[in-house]
Symmetry: C2
Subunit: 306 residues, 2 copies
Amino acid sequence: MEPIRSFAQLANRLKGFPPKTIAVAQAEDPHTIGAVARAAKEGFARFILTGNKQKIHELLSQHNAQLSDFSVHEINDEKEAVNWCVREVDEGGADILMKGLVNTDNFLRAVLNKEKGLMIPGTVMSYVAALEMPSYHKLLFITDTAVIPFPDLSQKIAMLNYAVEMCHRFGIELPKVALISATEKAGLNPPSAADYAIICKMVDRGQIKGCVVDGPLDIFLATDPESLTIKKVDSPLKGEADVLLFPSLESCNAFYKGLVRFAGAELAGLIQGTRKPVIVMSRSESEQSKFNCIALACLMAAQNNS
Amino acid sequence: MEPIRSFAQLANRLKGFPPKTIAVAQAEDPHTIGAVARAAKEGFARFILTGNKQKIHELLSQHNAQLSDFSVHEINDEKEAVNWCVREVDEGGADILMKGLVNTDNFLRAVLNKEKGLMIPGTVMSYVAALEMPSYHKLLFITDTAVIPFPDLSQKIAMLNYAVEMCHRFGIELPKVALISATEKAGLNPPSAADYAIICKMVDRGQIKGCVVDGPLDIFLATDPESLTIKKVDSPLKGEADVLLFPSLESCNAFYKGLVRFAGAELAGLIQGTRKPVIVMSRSESEQSKFNCIALACLMAAQNNS
């Protein structure tokens, strides 16, 4: 399979799969409905929308949506809407869970619930996002933008494996993973540099598979082949990283928000560690970002059919 | 004074000041000589260059430099060249110190030397840089890109004061300082959020002056007025930050390198805490970046004359 290198290619690829069903908790938000309506038109998703039925219908008709693509359920209580959608996904009535206007903490509480939630027992919850920018020739997968503040070694390994798995779904057979730091110097400091050396050795030993890994590397050495020449650094990634793994949430978060704000980057991301894809986006995300997220979730849900 | 909003305006402003003298340790590097030759041509700096005299003269003539703007000293030993330049600056023979091909650790060791170095006793060493990007309407000052891995409260306050002082030199009377985090939520976590609340209260009490401060804020809320409306957050910075203070070196470093790599950003920065401006740039920095740095150092050195 030819690798998917952009969100446009992603949406296109999905046309070959049967549509997925997505349950949305409190859908009555213009950006959410805009994204949902577009995904339904493209034909790769159908939706179960919960919330205020009247508002949802109004927004759907503003977007000229085909109402038969949507099943709308009146559930006005926020928690009730989330729990209803989680159950729907858990029981197989939907393939994907999506957050609408719901408060993120309440939403995640329901996803994380040990008995009724959607987490795979014993797994690390994390977040992987794909960035598309005019100034990079392919998608750049980054982790963790949103969940683990300061990942320890085992959490870093989980993050890496999640990102690699996502790359495989995008048709990137041997993704190049850069372990990001401020410099390329190996050693005990900062603490992430020691974890990075261990991860590289685990890759050498075959304990981590399916990817090429190098780090510590800074952003230049990870993404710019020329900088390797200038700094005379030899890296198996050749400045062509597919994945950037960050040492902290705050570094990953500032990195991607900087690129969205100043480099025209677009983003799509998913919670990791769940049995089914779960879409959690900030209410401030654009319609385009929400659409990209839906497409990403459909690709991840399509695995077993493909 | 009208604020300086770009590096072009900065170079222009310097024409009103008498030229500064810059001592360069091991200058025989093409990017360094390129930048140095341009600054001399613009008329705001003169140079004392140390290193291999023959190589330096060759590079200068390649750049059609006026040799009378340069005093060249044959000093081939790296440490000797650094120590010689530090002494020259210390004794007033030069106004500014600049690193050429010298190893950064060796260079900083000489600057930090308690007896013969250039640090102001008892001050925090840090680094402030100015970023210029086509997608922001003014310069964005960031700290700390390079020196303090995980600043504590007192280091954060020092970083803030350095950045504010630099903004004042740029004619920004009341710079807007954003204390950067992944979200705007106040509280004990991450640890930087607690420091940020304390800093804001210190500003309220007049313990920190000359700036408007808010945090924690994410990159969007700090630099994009629209995102304040969308997220219904009220901030005295109004999404128009002049300064971004980061919780860790690795977050600041990834942020700026991302913007240089993907958003066409240019950078100029200076070590802070020294008695005279000290220019330390990576060997891989472009000629343009080195030129911007020289201009920045000349502005900072010009304070007492202006």
